[in-house]
């Protein structure tokens, strides 16, 4: 296992407002790393900084031993944004093909990957439909398929399972776990606690700071509580007392 994502004392502020404060995270390959926290806690900003779409005010990000931002690095990152960024007037197939071309996949690999990604998210029968006719969940699934299209080493998924039914959520998690076993690095943001349970490492984010981090079991043991939800509430309450484990 090697460290694939290293965040070193990242801070970000918009004007006077500090969104992220001194965040350091290390994620290893073959690991699912979960960022949990309420909405507005700065998860998405952090994720954008890791991808290189945003720049930190302070600190440094390294992905695969390369300093972010770097164009070639983006070839190795699969990113699923929180909002579905899809072309509504194109079909699912066309959306996937467009992004595949941006990653310069050759025609043969392209078709293979489109078939794989579409199958993974159960969209194969709907590929010829325009995205504007998709349901919310279908759009979410297509976004995930787009993130996977170029078989990236690093997967960064911003709330990937919002609006997806439990059955499909289960199969997506099964696939995420399979990708993890292939040695990929997966960074996921969520505010659903039972998903946090499935991560190998967690970092709880609140008001731009990591209030607690470790494996789900570590966290529960530390706070002597059985559910992560309570950990989250307790850690949040203790934040002011500056009581953190590392």
């Amino acid at each position: 296992m090697t460290s694939t994502i290293v965040l070193d004392q990242i801070s970000k502020s918009f004007g006077k407002k500090t969104v992220l404060n001194n965040i350091s995270i290390t994620v290893n390959s073959g690991q699912i790393f979960g960022l949990i926290g309420p909405s507005g806690s700065g998860k998405t900003t952090l994720v954008k900084i890791i991808v290189g779409m945003d720049q930190p005010s302070n600190g440094q990000v390294q992905v695969l031993n390369t300093k972010v931002p770097n164009l070639n690095l983006l070839q190795e990152i699969g990113y699923m944004a929180q909002a579905d960024a899809l072309y509504n007037d194109l079909t699912g197939q066309e959306n996937l093909a467009f992004f595949a071309k941006l990653y310069k996949l050759n025609k043969h690999v392209q078709n293979e990957r489109i078939a794989y990604a579409a199958d993974l998210v159960n969209l194969t029968p709907h590929l010829t439909k325009k995205v504007q006719n998709y349901s919310g969940g279908m759009k979410r699934r297509l976004s995930l398929a787009v993130a996977l299209i170029h078989d990236p080493q690093i997967l960064i998924l911003d709330e990937p399972t919002v609006g997806i039914d439990p059955e499909l959520r289960k199969s997506i998690w099964a696939e995420i776990t399979r990708l993890k076993n292939d040695g990929k690095t997966i960074l996921i943001t969520t505010h659903v606690m039972d998903e946090a349970e499935k991560c190998d490492q967690l970092a709880m984010v609140r008001d731009g700071e990591i209030i607690s981090s470790g494996s789900p079991l570590d966290l529960k043991n530390h706070y002597e509580i059985n559910s992560l939800e309570e950990v989250f509430l307790k850690a949040g309450g203790e934040k002011d007392e500056n009581n953190r484990i590392s």
Binding site: V51, L71, D89
Partner: protein, 368 residues
Amino acid sequence: MRTIALVKRICIQMIRDKRTLALMMIAPLVILTLLHYLLSDETTSPRLGVSGVEEGLIEQLKEKEIVVIQYEQLKNTNQIIMDDSLDGMLQMEGEKVALTLTNDQPSSSKVLQTKIMQAISIESAKEQANNVSKFVQDIQYKLPNVPVNLNKAKTPEINTSYIYGSNDTTFFDQLSPILVGFFVFFFVFLISGIGLLRERTTGTLDRLMATPIQRRDIVFGYLVGYGLFAIIQTLFVVFYAVKVLDIMLVGSLWNVILINFSLALVALLLGILLSAFANSEFQMMQFIPIAIVPQVFFAGILPIEGMPEWMQIIAKFMPMYYGGNALVDVMYKGLGIDSIKYDLLVLVGFAFVFIVLNIFALKKYRKI
């Protein structure tokens, strides 16, 4: 290759969006047609009441396409003008001439006034000519053996010739080259600007930036993608204007297409550049009065030479100033590539500057 992917995507999107496509291709034709009939149609003949005017002058007036209505006695001139909906009343008593004009439309009143003046001067010239020849005959009669030659005893004749256009030239002929260019400019601006704006607001531009695509690839993708439609639109508009509306085209059709295409490129790049400063379609629309409407003022419809100096300096920063100038040169004056190459060069310069600015503006989305 990434640029090609982008171009292909834009083409598919455009072709599917029938309404936008129609706006781009058909709307300029409709507006041009309307203006063509509005501006090139001869205005109705003015109605002029006359009183105490000689037969000869009346003939002259009628020749100038004025409807002449004769009145015997006039008590209340204004009332008669109003009652009979005349455009004016000409009264003559010996040497005294009185002209009353309705002047509800100053420009047509001016025309009527000029026509009447001309008729009167022609008529008086004729009279003088008659007097002179009578005088010559008189002298001849009195001095039978002396030949008298007076060449000037003729009605003066004015032969008008035109450097540009002819006596059939209407306002529309001079205006139409500018309008053709302006509509190409306007619609390309609108559609390309909103195209990229939609990409900004739906988050797909953000998403694009998470792929290894370079910022310049995006700008060139948009340039080529919408550029293709701009070419088609330019061809549509130019051919329609020249072949269907029969707008005066003295110079080369290819030069017209070249100028319009340069204008379209500038508009396209300006559109996607300004879309960076808009957060919604509504805000994009707000750029029309700021960035597009002033283009018309400086395109040559109003004479630039007559403007205050600082306005003339502003004009130099308007792409339409060069486009309009070049189009009038080719379509109306029939000048060749030599006289428009400077304008074309400036337009290409605008395009180049906008390309650089666009690549720079995309830094908002990703620093590299």
